[in-house]
């Protein structure tokens, strides 16, 4: 055995102690990292937080959330019409249910018109998707997140009240043994001092937040702040199941720029070509 090998084979007490200390530090650090992981539920979130705050923090938790267009079905009372924010303004209102893929963490402003018994009044709710579902491949739009705008809540908003509706995915282990058919969505109501997000956490997994209030755009029409920047969405045409439109796919286009209606990818090409000229 050479001299070097003999020296290497010897156990240096200082080296052994250092290894032990490093190991302990790594173990303690790893344990602290685990302890610092965010909890799986929204303990630190309040349902009255500003739109976009909860979904934005959800994105920080990781997972396949960024970039996924979660299908959402927005239904109003019979006869009402719903319009989405597209290109700095609201689109043409369409009756019936609206199915669209929405980004998680973004806030989508809607306009509800032709409300029964409230003709002439408009309500501008917002929808914020804070989590996604994992349906079988090819059936994403068959199982959208239902967001219901009830006549009662629309009238509440017109009366100056602020309604927060947290939609959650029910835990099958704690399922309420009642049949839910049709368009009616069961809901629980919490008191003023309670956090609806906490209650939804106990019942299942919160996936979306609907907010209705008396806020209306300014006299000059909706601006970028009011529309939350018109985040991109994928519209699903129920009458033509094979057709989808990509709306607001340019995140750089602010609502204050030139209004662009129905910004399909082909519209984008036209804009680019015009700039080249």
């Amino acid at each position: 055995m050479s001299m070097v090998q003999e020296l290497r084979s010897r156990r240096n007490p200082a080296r052994v102690a250092g290894t032990v200390i490093v190991g302990v530090l790594l173990w303690a650090g790893g344990d602290a990292r685990v302890a610092a992981d965010p909890p799986p539920v929204h303990y630190n979130h309040a349902g009255v937080m500003p739109p976009g705050a909860i979904g934005g923090q959800q994105l920080l938790r990781g997972g396949p959330l960024p970039g996924y267009f979660q299908p959402v079905e927005i239904k109003g009372p019979p006869g009402s019409q719903i319009a989405t924010a597209e290109g700095g303004d609201f689109s043409e209102p369409q009756p019936g249910a609206l199915v669209a893929g929405m980004l998680i963490g973004a806030v989508y402003r809607l306009r509800v018109t032709n409300i029964p018994e409230q003709i002439g009044f408009e309500v501008f709710p917002t929808v914020e998707v804070i989590d996604r579902t994992y349906p079988p491949r090819g059936q994403e739009f068959r199982f959208p997140i239902p967001v219901e705008l009830t006549q009662e809540e629309l009238e509440m908003a017109l009366a100056g009240q602020f309604v927060t509706r947290v939609i959650y995915l029910e835990d099958p282990d704690n399922a309420v043994p009642v049949a839910r058919e049709g368009n009616e969505q069961a809901y629980f109501e919490v008191a003023d001092g309670d956090n609806p997000l906490d209650v939804a956490d106990t019942l299942g997994r919160p996936v979306a937040i609907l907010r209705l209030g008396a806020r209306v755009p300014g006299p000059e029409g909706p601006d970028a702040t009011f529309l939350y920047g018109c985040p991109p969405m994928v519209k699903w045409h129920a009458s033509q199941p094979r057709v989808m439109s990509v709306i607001n796919d340019d995140s750089q286009a602010s609502a204050q720029s030139k209004p662009i209606r129905d910004l399909t990818p082909t519209n984008r090409h036209s804009m680019r070509r015009s700039r080249r000229r």
Binding site: R165, E170, V176, G204, D250, H269, R273
Partner: protein, 406 residues
Amino acid sequence: MNLHQNRQEKASVPAARCRWLMLLAVALCSCRTLNEAQLPVEDEPPPVVVSDEGPSMERIPTGAEVARAVESTPELPVEPLCYEGMPMPMVNIPNWSPPGISGPWPKDEYLQDGGDNFIPVNVRRDGELQGLELEDTVAVYDTIDGQTKIKPSNQVCLYAPRFGAVRHVATVIENLQNDKLVAVEQPVLPAQNLEDRLATTAVQPVQPEGGVSTKQPSIERREDVPTPTIALQPISGVRHGAATYEDLLIMQRGIFDESERPRLMEAIDAAIVWTHDKAVQVVLDGRKAVDITGDQRAQATFRVDVPNNPCLRIIKCASQKTAKPGDIIDFTIRFDNTGDQRIKKVMLIDNLTTRLEYVPQTAQSSRRAEFSTQANDGDSLMLRWDFVDPLLPGEGGLVRFDCRVR
């Protein structure tokens, strides 16, 4: 020294050639332009056609798929290369599951039925079953030597998410309530007492003393004396600990608001449903979703190593893998005597889970059996078939029934 210089020169020649090649490649790439005929026109195109197949639901297309769809559309002369630089492409990550977790995921989006979960099913000496929980599907039979055996079926997983909502309404009624509390102070104002004192202590001949009495500083202190508003404080403080089903203003603050009465009736109904007792009734086990096929089950039950080995195989399957509330699912349970001896008193039990509701008059059996139902803890039914005839080796049958997804 000369040798070292030669080596440096030899080494620098390939490097210089590489730099020239890179510059040439950059120059060639920068000269690439689009054909004018391929540029898009500026008319308003129809929406993007994603698929030409049937009217079935399609998944969300990615940015590349949208580009291909536009390219394949004959009436849209669009060059897909123009899509470069598109911010935020539609990223589709379907059927994602965390690393290391297989099978249906996440658990809260699937409805499971079948198998023997959590507590194993046992038969007591008096014939009563123990450990039969929600979602359990088992068969009980007797062998020719008097033994009672239990065979569970496989699990069936249905993608059937159900959504609920929690509503919070912030109103200006709170401010109105404060106004009401201020109004409560008014009856306490001792104005009447002041007049009485003035009347009793007024000394008519001594007029200046009457001016002293009008100051009445002590009377002003009385206005700060506890009023009914303080008496309401403990009641309003209870609301922070109130449960959902106590969401009534009259319960939390003692103030009955007539305007909220009709819309709180629904909350009351929901609160009645959401009692703790009923929540306990529907507690199920924490199983992970496992996709079991009949082949796997058969592979586990067909092994017969020694003679006189009774064995019963049960396979449970559903008509579809996804369902929405209100849909009707057809369940079929196939049972076969895969052993080498006759078995008798075969009893098939399916304890339906909470969200499955048995459709009456839909139970069928290929063999002569007595069908009965019994309410279970999940506010659903326990289906039971008692087969009359024994099962010979190689014989089998099936039962069918329909369930409505709640």
